[in-house]
């Protein structure tokens, strides 16, 4: 009998707290979004599952000695996001950007969302119950970079407690790019602007593609060493792919290695979705600021493209400015879709890939700025 009571006391039903139950619902919601809605499933499925596992009472999967506790070390040490960034680098083709380098400025403009939401987070401190330190605000701002590994890397360094909410916001909004961006893009452009066709891009040679990642790394070493872990691993992956002499390493970096690390990273991020850290007013603030950051970044990119179109000798369709937020390749596809709507012969995809990959560099640079100024 005593045995049965002790058994009953070891069940999940007996030990559940309301917070854990709620966080499991959050986990199930993420799984639903990943599987049924196709929201960034590669990340949100493991994150959602990690949220469920880490909120199981008694089991202690995210506590010392549990699997997620050990996996989380890969985030705490910055290893997982950097390895993913290496793989992303290996998958990235800088050709369209090198063919039209001024699109880099669009990738810069779109980072405006990062700094706007940073200031927004600090401003939110006037709301009672919200308390963001400068570090928190910087970590929240990086959501506007629309780049998952960068957001996780920065959050793990500056504000590990908010990591779960920040990562979820970043990936969710990346998945929502096809819903968030079009209204903003339409509001800021005229039909005539959306119809603008752009000149075909020149073919970029292999040598330029090999030199570029090294040049990018070199510039970042000179000006912004705090960005070099991110930019360095990105450049390494990109160089491995571009140079053509280490094909097997490049293939492994962009397939098996990134897959393994993605599973581990997702689960560990999910393990930060604990009731104690997530069920705070702060989380609502983060979700709101993240959406604002995306919107501002999109707007800044489009406006910058309009300005550039004024002064450029070759036409620039303002729609491609929205791709500067990164969210590769979703944002570029959105730009392409809106272009086709206004002009069925207007294929903007390759033109939008320039600002799109520039946005990845832009947010890594912004991450470096934050890591260097905020500490």
């Amino acid at each position: 009998m005593e045995n049965l009571i002790s058994l009953w006391q070891s069940t999940g039903i007996y030990n559940f707290t309301a917070g854990q139950a709620f966080m499991m619902l959050v986990g199930f919601l993420l799984l639903f979004l990943a599987i049924k809605k196709g929201f960034e499933p590669l990340l949100l499925l493991p994150i959602g599952f990690g949220a469920i596992l880490s909120n199981i009472p008694v089991a202690g999967i995210a506590e010392e000695g549990g699997l997620l506790y050990y996996l989380y070390f890969g985030i705490k040490a910055g290893i997982f996001p950097l390895l993913i960034f290496m793989g992303v680098g290996a998958m990235t083709d800088f050709g369209p950007m090198l063919a039209n380098p001024k699109t880099l400025l669009l990738g810069a403009a779109a980072q405006f969302g990062i700094f706007a939401s940073l200031i927004g987070a600090l401003a939110l401190n006037v709301v009672p119950g919200l308390e963001f330190t400068l570090k928190d605000a910087a970590a929240i701002g990086i959501i506007g970079g629309a780049d998952g590994p960068t957001a996780i890397y920065v959050a793990s360094k500056l504000s590990p407690d908010l990591l779960g909410a920040i990562a979820v916001a970043a990936y969710s909004y990346m998945a929502l790019v096809p819903l968030i961006q079009p209204p903003i893009m339409r509001a800021l452009t005229t039909e005539d602007e959306r119809k603008i066709e752009m000149q075909q891009l020149r073919v970029v040679g292999k040598t330029e593609k090999i030199v570029f990642p090294l040049m990018l790394l070199f510039l970042s070493i000179l000006l912004l060493p705090s960005a070099t872990p991110l930019i360095g691993m990105f450049a390494l992956g990109n160089l491995m792919n571009a140079c053509g002499v280490v094909e097997r390493l490049s293939q492994t970096a962009q397939n098996e290695l990134i897959n393994i690390v993605t599973i581990f990273l997702g689960l560990s991020v999910g393990s930060k979705l604990s009731a104690h850290a997530f069920l705070q007013m702060e989380t609502l603030g983060i979700l709101a600021l993240g959406a604002i950051a995306f919107a501002i970044g999109t707007a800044a990119g489009v406006i910058m493209a309009k300005i550039m179109n004024k002064f450029s000798d070759t036409p620039i369709n303002p729609l491609i400015g929205a791709a500067g937020v990164s969210a590769v390749p979703m944002a570029a596809r959105v730009a392409n879709k809106l272009g086709l709507e206004s002009n069925p012969h207007n294929f903007l995809l390759m033109h939008a890939m320039g600002p799109n990959v520039a946005g990845v560099i832009g947010s890594a640079v912004a991450a470096g700025v934050l890591l260097s100024l905020v500490k």
Partner: protein, 67 residues
């Protein structure tokens, strides 16, 4: 915090400049017989060659898995 945005712009503007320099240097001193040759065959070459390539690849893989 506008200094942050300023650095991002400064950095990417400098990157634009060095890319332009780099591209013109590379194109002048290391011109390439271009990637065309790499990208075109998919569409241009007749089906026969493709079939052969397919079979070669498949045979190769078949063997490497079932040796």
């Amino acid at each position: 915090m506008f200094v942050g945005m300023g650095i991002v712009f400064l950095f990417l503007t400098m990157l634009v400049i060095v890319i332009n320099m780099m591209s013109s240097l590379v194109q002048r001193f290391f011109p390439e017989v271009q990637a065309n040759t790499v990208n075109v065959p998919a569409a241009a070459i007749g089906t026969d060659k493709q079939t052969i390539a397919a079979i070669t690849a498949a045979v190769h893989q078949y063997r490497s898995k079932h040796k």
